[in-house]
């Protein structure tokens, strides 16, 4: 039981990170109907920028951890968001009204570019950082000595995710930008006629998605203590899987899918085999889609004849 509870905690933390990345996929899909294959790499870039900012701040002699964290968070969100914005401008906007496969391949190309850009710029070796946020709570200790631990970093990841989701939900449901985004999702031409700046709205979607991915990158860095140039691919397809599992286009679906994938992975590793954890996640995705072709929370597709 204790073991189970511990895995549950671990799974939820991992799921939160996936969920944050998955939101970026789902948002972009909802508004431009394309899979942003480069999104996983945006997450990786976010991790790197966070790492480099950490290094600089520490070598500047800063010691107050909360200040460091805040600065790192803001810097990595800002710069990564600019990456998202630039990529949309360069690789996707010219293909906005083109055939569906063209932007997808452009995105795959962009993903190759980002992976290798980071490899060339920062080298291929894994970059570790010393643990920043240490300590935690022992929730329960059983007779046989097994302890359920809730580390501070885990608390931080979950709290940050919840806070961001709150802000994000508010942004989408209450602000002018959110309304414009929903309008573009429904019908871009109509939205444009009604005075919505479609280009700007789409740009902002990429910016927000990238900023969330940057947060996920930072959380990953803090939680696992390392980044490397290839981490975007694996995390990217996991998050994409999460977005699809939840029902692509649905924001709560993305979070739910993220948690589901995180839990599946953790529990499979804990109870069956670590090697096949990804196989399990992908297989469950396939099985779910057989029975629910539009994911857990996706709108069922009505075939209008």
């Amino acid at each position: 039981m204790d073991y189970f509870a511990q895995q549950l905690i671990n799974g939820l933390v991992l799921g939160s990170i996936y969920g944050l990345i998955a939101i970026g996929y789902t948002m972009v899909y909802g508004i431009v109907g394309m899979i942003n294959f480069a999104h996983g790499d945006i997450f990786m870039i976010g991790g790197f920028i966070a790492l480099i900012t950490f290094l600089i701040l520490i070598s500047l002699g800063l010691t107050a951890i909360p200040v460091i964290l805040l600065v790192v968070l803001l810097v990595s969100m800002a710069i990564t968001a600019l990456y998202g914005w630039t990529i949309e401008r360069i690789a996707y906007r010219p293909l906005r009204h083109s055939f569906r496969l063209a932007p997808m391949l452009s995105a795959i190309g962009m993903s190759f570019v980002l992976t290798n850009y980071s490899q060339v710029a920062q080298g291929a070796r894994v970059k570790p950082i010393p643990p920043f946020i240490i300590g935690g709570y022992t929730l329960h200790e059983s007779a046989d000595g097994f302890v359920i631990q809730l580390s501070n970093i885990q608390i931080m990841v979950v709290l940050t995710t919840i806070a961001l989701l709150g802000i994000f939900t508010w942004l989408v449901s209450r602000t002018r930008l959110g309304r414009d985004m929903r309008a573009c999702e429904q019908d871009q031409t109509m939205a444009a006629l009604l005075g919505v700046d479609v280009d700007r709205t789409i740009s902002m979607t990429f910016v927000i998605g990238a900023a969330l991915a940057a947060v996920a990158g930072l959380m990953y860095l803090l939680y696992y203590g390392l980044v490397d140039f290839f981490m975007g691919f694996v995390a990217g397809i996991k998050a994409f899987t999460a977005a699809v599992l939840g029902g692509i286009g649905s924001l709560p679906g993305a979070m739910l899918g993220g948690l589901a994938i995180g839990l599946i992975e953790t529990f499979w590793s804990a109870y069956f085999s670590v090697e096949y954890k990804d196989v399990a996640a992908f297989s469950i995705l396939i099985v779910v889609l057989i029975f629910m072709p539009t994911g857990l929370l996706g709108r069922p597709e009505v075939e209008k004849v």
Binding site: Y29, I35, F48, I49, L51, T53, L55, I56, V75, I79, L82, Y83, I90, A91, P94, L95, H97, S98, F99, R100, L101, A102, M104, L105, S106, I108, G109, M110, S111, F112, V113, T115, N116, Q119, V120, A121, Q122, G123, R125, K127, P128, I129, Q188, T189, V198, I237, F240, T241, V244, I248, E275, D278, V279, F282, S283, I286, L289, I290, P293, G295
Partner: protein, 441 residues
């Protein structure tokens, strides 16, 4: 969807030097922010696991300067060429002219290909490259059945390549079966896996299809990595038998082909043999595909791509139609995989990554979905181009990725932008790709 008119179009055309400088300055500023940390600072883990960093402001400055200069050049070019979309650069008359040329390009290309081993007999490097290109031509033609004809997206095509390669490798190393027995088996096994993939995706559309095929490809790769007792895991399978000339080995032994023919042995013989082997396999793929297109099943594939609902209203079983498309494409992938295994003599999961699937898909899309000649040209351009940049080493994938982006922007509908009808009464009119749908998958 109608394109929303771009407000800045007019401004660009009449822009003067201040506008140019302003754009370049903004771009340079963006580049400065983007690259400040990633390029300006270099991190590295020291031997003690401690992270260190050093600055590279010189590199940063030169990149920002390059962006500044580059923006001016691009902006000038844009003003000269005008803001016409890239697609319009090729007028319809030229398009139909291209189909005319196509009638001669294809045979000329074929004759040239047949002569490659004669012309480049002494250039091992070129022969190897030609074999590589032909392998991708074959993979492209195989995937073209699924993506180009049936309009079903497949991001995990490499899985079938892997199934074919491992089928041959394992059957040959464990049971000593010959290549010619294993080749059809590899195709059949791959086709079987294609059907298996087909079932879950029958009801899926678009991006759901994309992720499931991608996941399928990853599952196969992960199983190969982890099922060590069968596949050798990350170490792969080595010692895969080389192909024989219908039982006669192509080596330096007494009953080798060279000895039997009474000529002097040369390692090039095997390369040449491999070249003609893959050429034959690729041509078989091409021939079968062209024939299938003119059969009811092929027409049903294309009709499926155009309108699935209409297909059902005409009594077409869309389930079997989709499954046969997946199976046929997978079978060709399996053949190619078996060839790959016998050529390399060694295979490992590293050869079957998502990048490979993406590359083959890029070849199909760049070729102009559904066009056999286009796919061949695209494979030549992509693989040949990729080789050209070999000297760039680590920058190679960077350049390759950029090329993919630029090519898609330049020709979103591929090199060959029209479709040839499968049957006609009086004249085979080329159909503009603007009319051809790309399927829902």
């Amino acid at each position: 969807m109608t394109a929303i008119p771009h407000e800045t179009t007019k401004a660009r055309r009449t822009a003067g030097i201040p506008f140019l400088l302003k754009t370049a300055f903004i771009n340079a500023l963006i580049a400065l922010v983007l690259f400040s940390l990633m390029i300006g600072i270099r991190t590295e883990a020291g031997s003690d696991g401690q992270l260190t960093y050093w600055t590279r402001f010189g590199d940063l400055a030169s990149i920002v300067a390059a962006v500044f200069g580059g923006s001016i050049v691009i902006e000038l070019l844009r003003q000269w060429i005008g803001p016409t979309g890239a697609e319009k650069l090729v007028p319809p008359s030229v398009q139909s002219g291209m189909s005319f040329i196509g009638r001669y390009v294809a045979p000329a290309l074929l004759i040239f290909t047949l002569l490659v081993p004669v012309i480049f007999y002494d250039q091992r490097y070129i022969l190897d490259l030609a074999i590589l290109v032909l392998t991708y031509v074959m993979l492209g033609w195989g995937l073209n059945v699924v993506v180009g004809l049936a309009g079903l997206l497949d991001l995990g095509y490499v899985a079938f390549y892997a199934v074919g390669a491992y089928s041959y490798a394992l059957l040959a190393t464990n049971f000593g079966w010959s290549f010619w027995v294993c080749l059809p088996l590899a195709g059949i096994l791959a086709a079987f896996w294609g059907m298996l993939l087909g079932f879950p995706v029958l009801r899926l559309r678009g991006d759901y299809l994309a992720i499931v095929t991608l996941a399928f490809g990853e599952i196969i790769r992960l199983v190969i990595i982890n099922w060590q007792s069968l596949t050798g895991g990350p170490n792969g399978v080595s010692g895969i038998p080389r192909p024989t000339f219908f039982g006669i080995p192509l080596d330096n032994s007494d009953d080798g082909l060279a000895a039997k023919l009474g000529i002097e042995y040369s390692p090039t013989h095997r390369i040449v043999f491999l070249f003609y082997l893959i050429l034959a396999l690729a041509l078989l793929t091409n021939w079968v595909t062209i024939r299938l297109r003119r059969l009811p099943i092929g027409r049903a594939w294309e009709a499926l791509r155009e309108d699935e609902v209409a297909c059902r209203a005409l009594g077409i079983n869309t389930t079997t139609t989709k499954l046969t498309a997946f199976a046929t494409g997978a079978m060709f992938g399996g053949f190619a995989g078996a060839f790959f295994a016998t050529r390399q003599g060694f295979i490992s999961p590293e050869s079957f990554t998502f990048q490979e699937s993406a590359l083959v898909l890029a070849i199909v899309v760049l070729g102009g979905m559904g066009s056999q000649l286009g796919v061949a040209l695209a494979a030549l351009a992509m693989i040949g181009g990729f080789e050209l940049f070999r000297s760039l080493e680590t920058y190679r994938m960077l350049v390759f990725g950029m090329a993919m982006v630029l090519i898609m922007i330049w020709r979103p509908r591929g090199l060959i932008g029209h479709r040839a009808p499968t049957v006609y009464l009086t004249k085979a009119n080329a159909i503009s790709s603007d009319l051809v749908k790309e399927g829902h998958g």
